[in-house]
């Protein structure tokens, strides 16, 4: 049975670019593994691309620029030999009791949540998105103490709101999932983990057997985008386009934020591995991110009916093909660096 005793685990909150890699970095750092967010993202193989016409979000195809929710944490832990335990629940009371038990054991807990019920988000930023991650690190006056990486400082969340957020309904529901560290190795192989992370991304982006994933997926999307106005009509084409941009929009990056984060990972890895070629590849990944942003800019102008004559679906398709070609070259060279 839950007590109302205050609990405050000495957890260090750091703001991050992205929730899951931020949580991974902060959780591992709590246990003495000082891992930056870019390293967590890269070792976790976070970079990805997929366009899934058969998976619907808001009745529109799903596009993703990063690995599936939970995979970054699982993989970065796995590669570093850190043991993480995942739990999921059918019953909300059980889920909150389990969270309380871990907090009483002084264990900070990662939680997968929907974003809509997290009332510490300003109203205008609350939307139905079920792939958010945060860390609960205590309780005070009935509220949970939350380290949410998208915020500059820790926040608090009433119990009823956290409960709702953990069991938010809709596509890809969180189902009360929580995770926590159960063991940390005495030594970690950072260099080896970086190499494995890089190899995993190169494989996912260039060796996927299906056309929806990786650089094939980017080209597949290009073919779709080019034909949307003729196939779907202008209105539906703009809806589809808005979905591609909006679902991955991260404050003006149009989905390119993950490319920039990966560029930061390559830059850090260059000094850890003492490999200068990674610096050049980091720069090229930044350029690729800028190119994705060019795509998103035209898309945003079409969605908002302020596109010029040159800003068309075929011009966006051309940019996507350019992104695919540039990414393909980068992964080929990355593979050579870590082979």
């Amino acid at each position: 049975m839950r007590t109302d005793t205050d609990i405050r685990i000495p957890f260090r909150h750091r703001q991050a670019a992205h929730c899951e890699s931020g949580v991974a970095s902060n959780l591992l750092s709590h246990y003495g593994l000082a891992l930056s967010e870019p390293l967590a993202f890269g070792i976790g193989g976070g970079l990805f691309f997929g366009y899934f016409p058969f998976i619907r979000l808001n009745n529109l195809p799903l596009t993703t620029f990063r690995a599936g929710n939970g995979r970054i944490i699982d993989r970065v832990a796995g590669r570093l030999n850190v043991k993480i335990k995942w739990e999921k629940f059918r019953d909300r009371q059980n889920a909150m009791a389990a969270l309380d038990r871990k907090l009483e054991q002084q264990t900070p807990v990662g939680c997968r949540t929907g974003a809509y019920w997290l009332t510490y988000f300003p109203r205008r930023y609350r939307f139905h998105f079920n792939m958010h991650n945060l860390v609960a690190y205590g309780r005070s006056n009935g509220d949970y103490l939350i380290s949410d990486p998208v915020f500059p400082e820790p926040v608090t969340c009433p119990e009823k709101d956290l409960r709702k957020a953990r069991f938010a309904r809709g596509p890809l529901p969180p189902k009360g999932k929580m995770y926590y560290v159960t063991s940390i190795p005495a030594k970690i192989d950072l260099r080896g983990s970086i190499v494995k992370g890089i190899r995993a991304v190169c494989n996912a982006m260039t060796r996927a057997p299906v056309r929806f994933i990786g650089v094939k997926g980017i080209r597949y999307l290009a073919d779709k985008v080019e034909r949307w106005p003729q196939k779907l009509g202008e209105e539906k084409a703009a809806l589809n386009l808005g979905q591609v941009i909006r679902m991955q929009e991260e404050i003006g990056t149009g989905g390119a934020g993950f490319r920039f984060l990966y560029a930061a990972f390559l830059q850090e890895s260059a000094s850890i591995l003492d490999e200068k070629r990674l610096l050049d590849l980091s720069q090229r990944m930044t350029t690729i991110g800028d190119r994705w942003r060019d795509f998103a800019l035209i898309g945003s102008r079409i969605c908002k009916s302020r596109a010029s004559q040159m800003e068309t679906y075929p011009s966006m398709a051309a940019i996507l093909r350019d992104c695919a070609a540039q990414e393909e070259h980068v992964y080929k060279e990355l593979r050579a660096v870590v082979s």
């Binding site: 300003p122 930023y125 991260e250 003006g252 390119a256 934020g257 920039f260 991110g289 102008r301 908002k304």
Partner: protein, 87 residues
């Protein structure tokens, strides 16, 4: 360009480049949230704002950690641009 002029210029850019209907630059408060019902801006508009900041002030926003607080209001955006230009 001093801070007041910078904020005025940002407001002019928002009105003209984002097609804000029936809103004048003087209607945009310095500390009001940019996104939401008041001005009708959403996350898709953020892409245009980031582009305009680069084109007009030479400041590039790539880090989502920086971009999030910078894009909250005219005040925060102006402060971000000034800080980056001073660096």
């Amino acid at each position: 360009m001093n801070t007041t002029n910078l904020k005025e210029r940002l407001k002019e850019i928002l009105v003209s480049e984002l097609d804000l209907i029936d809103i004048e630059p003087s209607d945009i408060a310095d500390d009001e949230p940019l996104f939401g019902e008041k001005y009708g801006l959403d996350s898709v508009d953020a892409i245009e704002i980031v582009y305009q900041v680069k084109e007009n002030f030479g400041v590039v926003i790539r880090d989502m950690k920086e971009g999030r607080p910078a894009l909250q209001s005219i005040n925060s955006l102006a402060a971000f641009i000034e800080k980056r230009r001073a660096a």
